[in-house]
């Protein structure tokens, strides 16, 4: 009972704090700044939000962005995990691949935008590519670390139980042992990918997209709409992370004690 009331109290305070922030925002916008271009008020933004939602355009932007995001993260997963596994398991693969990765990795993902456009044109793949560049290294490196740090005793226990081929050891011992590390790498990658999404879309790879519309409404000087897209980006980013943590994390890592991911 006390625990429940404690949680309720927390929820109440959290909600109250958000309401207070909105009220202060409204007051500052209406009475201090008094210029909706510099600071749109809370009510301006709320009515812009319902307008954009009602016209269906917000949903279309969201769908487009999620497609870009899925392309980028999906490709990063498909490339990052196998390469990370190979580098973590076979020292030779690491020796060969590591110098190349160390040269490419520090290049900021946004620096790839010209080549993204040259290679893929103004397509969803082009935005996906920039997200891919941002997301692939966290996934690759955490997979590598997970494989490198598989406790030796698990590998040896696997061997004496008849799991002797490299392929089986990877599949039945190393991969499950490395899963927590891979999962946390994907989580980091999703955060980085979400940031890259906005920048990639600002370069006009599509007529839709959350990032694209921020730039578009800025050109039109419709600042309440810009704020709507900023808040939607933040909220969807949070939601994606929570969903991932809740479903994927709990499903794959229920064998871990304590906090997941």
């Amino acid at each position: 009972m006390r625990w429940l009331s404690h949680t309720m109290r927390g929820r109440f305070l959290g909600g109250a704090s958000l309401v207070a922030a909105a009220v202060i925002w409204q007051i500052v916008a209406d009475f201090v700044v008094r210029n909706p271009f510099i600071l749109p008020s809370f009510t301006d933004v709320a009515s812009a939000f319902f307008g954009l939602l009602g016209s269906g355009i917000l949903i279309q932007d969201l769908t487009t962005s999620l497609i870009h995001f899925a392309i980028g993260i999906g490709a990063a997963f498909l490339v990052g995990v196998p390469i990370g596994m190979a580098m973590g398991w076979f020292p030779d693969a690491n020796t060969v691949a590591d110098p190349i990765i160390e040269v490419i990795r520090p290049i900021p993902p946004l620096a790839w935008i010209p080549f993204a456009i040259v290679w893929f044109g103004l397509t969803p793949q082009s935005a996906g590519f920039v997200i891919f560049v941002g997301a692939v290294f966290p996934i690759l490196i955490s997979t590598f670390a997970g494989f490198r740090n598989v406790p030796k005793v698990f590998v040896e226990a696997g061997k004496v139980l008849g799991c002797t081929r490299s392929r089986d050891l990877i599949r039945y011992v190393a991969l499950p042992a490395a899963t927590p590390s891979i999962v946390s790498g994907i989580r980091i990658a999703m955060g980085v990918g979400w940031m890259c999404l906005v920048a990639a879309e600002m370069f006009g790879v599509s007529r839709f997209g959350l990032g694209q519309k921020i730039w578009w409404y800025y050109y039109l000087h419709q600042m309440p709409n810009v704020v709507v897209y900023m808040l939607v980006l933040g909220f969807i980013g949070l939601l994606l992370d929570r969903l991932f943590r809740h479903y994927v994390g709990n499903m794959l890592l229920k064998w871990q004690s304590g906090e997941v991911v």
């Binding site: 005793v153 040896e156 226990a157 696997g158 004496v160 139980l161 002797t164 064998w255 004690s257």
Partner: protein, 255 residues
């Protein structure tokens, strides 16, 4: 069957420069089928290395180990091993761990689960069948590890200080349970331990190794029936004898 024969076994660990470290030198002994052997010796004498060579996890520099006449070339499910650290796969439940070896051998699911359940019952953990290792105590984890090794029906069970991390009471209980299991399954057991008390309580024969380079100092027979009384005079006599053998080899200041 599970007779083990070790002949002229030498293990040298290579070092980057200079001569390698000789861990074991010309070790010779035979273990009869269904015999319970304990390996004891001062720290660093190569007991664990010897066990790992028998398991096939480590290669001998020269000499050979044969099980029922067949030379060992690598790890093999015919030799089960229980490790000192917790070696259960944390991502598998108790039953998943115990069935792992059978899964690797391609035993169909129904069959391997029923065999696993049988061994889980044997170590008294039916209630924890679907628990994950993190939910178990240290003693329970080692019981699962023993069940996992036995489920493969190995000829020889190798145990590397399996109770070393347990508290004294749990340890005594585990020793009793291990003997009961051994009576039931009649495996050849090679058991590495630091505890002379444990060795005298458990084994048919104690192989005392010398300090590095390790070699067999003396094989001490423990001929009495079990269960043994730890407080009896003959228990104390053998204990004293084995302890003296270990101390013999130890030079002062070289630990």
């Amino acid at each position: 069957m599970g007779g083990v024969s070790v002949k002229g076994l030498t293990k040298v660990f290579a070092r980057e420069e200079g001569a390698g470290i000789v861990a074991l030198e010309n070790v010779n002994f035979d273990i009869r089928d269904k015999e319970f052997i304990c390996l004891v010796g001062p720290s660093g004498c190569g007991k664990t290395t010897l066990l790992r060579i028998i398991a096939g996890l480590e290669r001998a520099t020269s000499g050979e180990v044969r099980i029922d006449g067949k030379e060992i070339t690598g790890p093999d499910p015919s030799r089960g091993m229980v490790f000192q650290e917790y070696s259960l796969f944390p991502w598998k439940t108790v039953v998943g761990n115990v069935a792992f070896g059978l899964e690797m051998r391609g035993v169909p699911k129904d069959r391997r689960l029923s065999i696993a359940d049988e061994y889980i019952r044997l170590v008294g953990l039916e209630q924890f069948r679907d628990s994950y290792p993190y939910e178990l105590s240290g003693g329970m984890r080692q019981r699962v590890a023993i069940a996992r090794a036995l489920a493969n029906d190995p000829d020889v069970l190798l145990m590397d200080e399996p109770f070393g991390a347990l508290d004294a009471q749990t340890r005594n209980r585990m020793q009793k349970e291990l003997l009961a299991l051994w009576e039931k399954t009649r495996k050849t057991i090679v058991f590495v331990t630091h505890s002379v008390d444990e060795a005298v309580y458990l084994s048919d024969r104690i192989l005392v190794l010398t300090p590095r380079p390790g070699t067999v100092h003396e094989a001490v027979d423990v001929p009495w029936p079990r269960p043994r009384d730890r407080t009896s005079t003959e228990f104390a006599t053998i204990r004293r004898h084995v302890l003296r053998l270990i101390e013999d080899g130890e030079e002062p200041g070289k630990v």
